[in-house]
Symmetry: C2
Subunit: 359 residues, 2 copies
């Protein structure tokens, strides 16, 4: 599949560039629509990725740099206020462009800050992690966390364009690769068995550009069908009802050793695959196949029974739910899923016990 | 004009009810689309207006109350975070409805909080001040202030409906009436000389329901033509380039004695009428007519020359401007205006001197 032509993907009114994408960014800037340029990044990305980007920004794009500390725990309203404040101080007007260079924290928070500054200025994404390339690059969701609730505040807002460059992935540490890989595996599980099978036999320590491209194409197809998540887009929530709660809990309690997004989602996918087996006709054989792949890739994480009550409370606060009912997307088989399955607290707790029994 | 039939006004995809509007609200709630109801209000409105609203909410609409302190200085991100936090704590899901009961602070901030909570829940407005009835009720702008910059963070988001009840206005103190009146006078000045002439001969201490209705109709027509303020909608900014700066400065420096929005906009309209006379062909006679009406209604406010530099800086930060140029909407005659007039710092400063010379 690496010989696949990676044509530009048309998402909700904007292009996602894969080939020579930074040259495309340079062209986009040269078109001269903007009066001012701002690059939002984090300290780590600023060090490793900004030097790659810089030559493409060209002489016409004098930019101001806005830097936040790296880390999922910083996707907060406080740092968002800092971004708005710097845009004010730098004198950003409505014809300014915000270039979000970084992982999901930068693209989610930068997208939210831009979509609300002066009631919305233009922004583009240059995603630099595997996770942000396969997840945050399409879909038009922006957001920040509040009180340990993931993405509870945000907007639906589309970037003007997304620029994907595989070079950024080569320097990523293995844990960061694994974090993005969880979403790629999810894309296979929910709607493309062939892609899942291809992932299984690939070297997943270094996902090829072609595999990344296919993952974005799958997500984009779902998003185009249901941009505001009224129905089928909820398929993308597979693994996330439980995964988001596990992630939020870990961010709050595990300090610097907290789980990555993908590690949490891998746990969520194991639990929700078990629920799929119990409630939605997923065969035991396919459950075992999914579990084998995921437990092989992701190290065990201890979830004590004493945490279940807190996790269930986080699931209830999840924005995916109506009232106090907890909803999951469940598989019926590998490559097929159905949405809006109400799960009881007992079932969810049992699925966490199942996870704990695996390692 | 008080015999005018006050038909429901269709704004950007939503109705603005005038006749029996709270009964319409009761019907809206009864339709049963929502799982949860939240009323956002301030302490004063809660005391005076909530008892009027309550009987219409009906038995089917058990609601949770979110209250913020009254006052323009509280339209901040801190109180907005408080609203998001209470929505989380009350377990508000995506099918919740936020009912914004109050003046512009409540409708602007409540609209912003709702349009970003879980990436957007539905909201309706029940505006209880003259200003919020004639200004915030149509247009779909939401916002909060940051660092003394008015409405610098916000969204374009439409309520599901707006419910106007003239009863709320009867208990307003005279300064609150004057605050809304400035926007009504503006609507006449920018595009309806007949309405301006009608206002001149009316008892403006108690604007009739018919005058309020006409004002909303005028604003609505402009907004429908240009929802995202790319062009003609900027007409509504007349008086606001200077007025917003004067208001922000006063909010920061005058403590409890700060200007109301309308008082500041009246100052802005006097200054910008003078600029219209100097730069845009407004006749001296019409300038004098405008000034006579405004100085007769609004008491003098001292603006020292030593504040001009700060005011100019606030104007530059105003979201209406591109780069460092300061833009004004100027009249060519009463009932007609044109947008995007760049004014120099000297001209703006001179207009403030003109204002100071009047009383």
């Amino acid at each position: 599949m690496d010989t696949l032509a990676m044509d530009t993907i048309e998402s909700i009114g904007y292009p996602v560039f894969f080939e020579d994408s930074l040259t495309e960014l340079a062209r986009f800037i040269e078109r001269g629509k903007y009066t001012r340029f701002f690059v939002l990044t984090d300290d780590q990305t600023g060090e490793y990725c900004l030097p790659v980007l810089q030559p493409y920004l060209g002489e016409n794009a004098q930019y101001d740099l806005i830097e936040v500390p790296s880390g999922e725990q910083n996707k907060t309203i406080d740092f968002c206020i800092g971004i708005w404040q710097m845009l004010i101080d730098f004198g950003a007007d409505r014809n300014s462009l915000l270039i979000n260079l970084g992982g999901g924290v930068i693209t989610d928070m930068g997208g939210f800050a831009a979509s609300t500054y002066k009631r919305g200025i233009d922004f583009v994404h240059v995603p630099t992690t595997l996770l942000s390339q396969v997840d945050a690059s399409v879909g038009g969701k922006t957001g920040i966390d509040l009180s340990s609730v993931k993405n509870i505040v945000g907007t639906f807002a589309q970037p003007q364009a997304v620029f994907m460059d595989h070079r950024f992935l080569t320097s990523l540490p293995p844990r960061q690769i694994l974090s993005g890989l969880a979403e790629m595996l999810k894309h296979g599980l929910i709607c493309d068995a062939e892609y899942w099978n291809e992932l299984k036999i690939s070297d997943l320590t270094k996902p090829s550009a072609g595999l990344v491209y296919q993952s974005v194409a799958i997500k984009n197809q779902i998003v185009l069908e249901d941009p505001k998540e009224k129905g089928i887009r909820k398929a993308l929530n597979f693994g996330h009802t439980i995964g988001h709660a596990v992630e939020a809990y870990s961010l709050e309690h595990d300090g610097a050793k907290h789980l990555t997004h993908g590690e949490a989602i891998a746990i969520g996918m194991i639990c929700e695959s078990w629920l799929s087996f119990k409630k939605n006709g997923l065969s035991e054989q396919e459950l075992n196949e999914i579990v084998a792949v995921l437990t092989n890739l992701y190290p065990q994480h201890e979830i004590k029974s004493s945490c279940h009550a807190d996790l269930l409370q986080l699931m209830q606060k999840d924005k995916k739910n109506n009232g106090t009912q907890i909803n999951c997307t469940l598989l019926n088989k590998i490559g097929e899923c159905s949405i809006d399955h109400i799960c009881t607290e007992e079932e969810l707790s049992d699925s966490l016990h199942y996870y704990a029994s695996l390692y």
